[in-house]
Amino acid sequence: MSPRCQGDPSVKQKPDSRIDGYIERIAGGDRRALRSLYNETSAPLLGLAVRLMADRAEAENVLQDAFVTVWQGAQAFDARRETGWIWLITILRHTAYKRLRSRGREASFADPETSPETRNEETAAIDALVSRMDDDRLKHCLEALESEERRSILLAYLDGLSQSQIADRLMAPLASIRDWVRHGLESLRKCLS
């Protein structure tokens, strides 16, 4: 964790105006702003990448690619449409999914010898993350979903799992996962609107 992130309560809420400012300066070719942005966001972004890739070295490559993309594409950032933090997360996730797809997510999925008990524990742990969320609206809407719908969506978003990997993790047919994700998205959309 970078020193600026460690113990800094602002990290969870991400001081968006500062991040927006860095990105705008990067768009003007300011490499010091890229360094500042890296200092401020690399630890939470690497945390996300490690979780998505389930591989530390791959996660570092994702973070590296993402920051190069930030340097190349900062001029595309529009603070009127989204915050800098959301823009960064989007770039990181896009980069991660590109790598996940290219390495073949089916082959990379967890140890087949993982016991059903362990899988259940891992899956239940993801519910605990929801309870730690700061965003009450999203928390309420996620908790209102059927548990299979919620877990399917969270395993995709947080762990970068494909639908067949989610089926494996939840020990359910692939067709059920498809239904749960779609129905979960529709319910979430109504609840969040």
Binding site: M1, S2, C5, V11, Q13, K14, I26, G29, R31, L34, R35, Y38, S42, A43, P44, L46, G47, L48, V50, R51, E60, L63, Q64, D65, F67, V68, W71, Q72, G73, A74, Q75, A76, R81, E82, W85, I86, I89, T90, R93, Y97, L100, R101, S102, L129, V130, R132, M133, D135, L138, A156, Y157, L158, S162, V181, R182, L185, E186, L188, R189, L192
Partner: protein, 258 residues
């Protein structure tokens, strides 16, 4: 909003689409404002989940690796200027020959004063010409660029749009096509129109694509190089494997920084 757009956008943001579904959605985004809004909606609404993940300290050398890649991009950007400087040096050698000629002429006139004056005039002309030409070349240096990389992210081709609307493609690595096949450059500006050929690439020298052949240059525009039969794709569409890919962007680096 339509349920279909909501679901598609949600699946996209959750990373649950395969490559062809992803490509199709990204192509649709260009002409579908509602779909774009739905994607932004899910990106924004799911973002608080990211804050639940524990940060991980990056290793000390990760920033160095990023910095090296950014420098590499800037160096690639600076290659144009280096070419200009090399040309300047050629010009200076040529001017030096002129100066020697002027000195000889002055000596021929038999006066030291005349020799000094002729040398000063040549020096003035030399400096002024160089400054003017450098400024002209700077004005010609592109701000719209794309770096095309292979699967390992190694940058292999630099594209630079020029002020006259043409595009210059400069190899950054070994681009030799196997078995006399052709490397063909493509761009995708309008998904409805599909990829447009920008013609074959030279393996060892810069290739210039005239403005008339370009459909335009926009941020995030996709460029690809595919391997095609000798002479290029017989169908007007890529038929071989895509060897490198990149997107155009407006380079924020002032030309003089390189």
């Amino acid at each position: 909003m339509s349920d279909d757009n909501t679901t598609r956008a949600g699946l996209y943001v959750l990373g649950l689409m395969n490559q062809s579904e992803t490509d199709r959605l990204e192509a649709d985004l260009a002409g579908d404002a509602e779909l774009r809004e739905e994607v932004v909606f899910w990106q924004s609404r799911f973002a608080p989940l990211a804050a639940t993940i524990e940060p991980v300290a990056p290793p000390a050398d990760l920033w160095t690796r990023i910095e090296q890649r950014v420098e590499g991009l800037q160096l690639a950007r600076g290659s144009e200027r280096q070419s200009a400087v090399a040309q300047m040096q050629d010009d200076m050698r040529s001017l030096e020959r002129s100066r020697r000629w002027a000195r000889g002429l002055a000596v021929g006139f038999g006066g030291l004063f005349a020799a000094a004056t002729a040398a000063a005039v040549v020096f003035f002309l030399e400096t002024t010409n160089l400054e003017v030409e450098l400024a002209q070349r700077d004005a010609q240096i592109a701000t719209y660029v794309a770096v095309l990389s292979d699967e390992s992210n190694a940058p292999l081709l630099l594209l630079e749009a020029r002020q006259d609307g043409s595009l210059r493609a400069t190899p950054l690595g070994d681009l030799a096509a196997p078995d006399e096949q052709t490397l063909e450059l493509w761009t995708l500006l309008d998904p409805a129109q599909g990829p447009i050929s920008l013609g074959p690439l030279q393996a060892e020298a810069a290739t210039f694509i005239p403005a008339a052949q370009l459909p335009g240059t926009e941020p995030n525009q996709l460029f690809e190089v595919s391997l095609e039969p000798p002479g290029g794709s017989p169908t007007g569409r890529p038929t071989g494997p895509v060897l490198m890919i990149g997107r155009g962007f407006v380079d924020p680096t002032p030309a003089g920084d390189s």
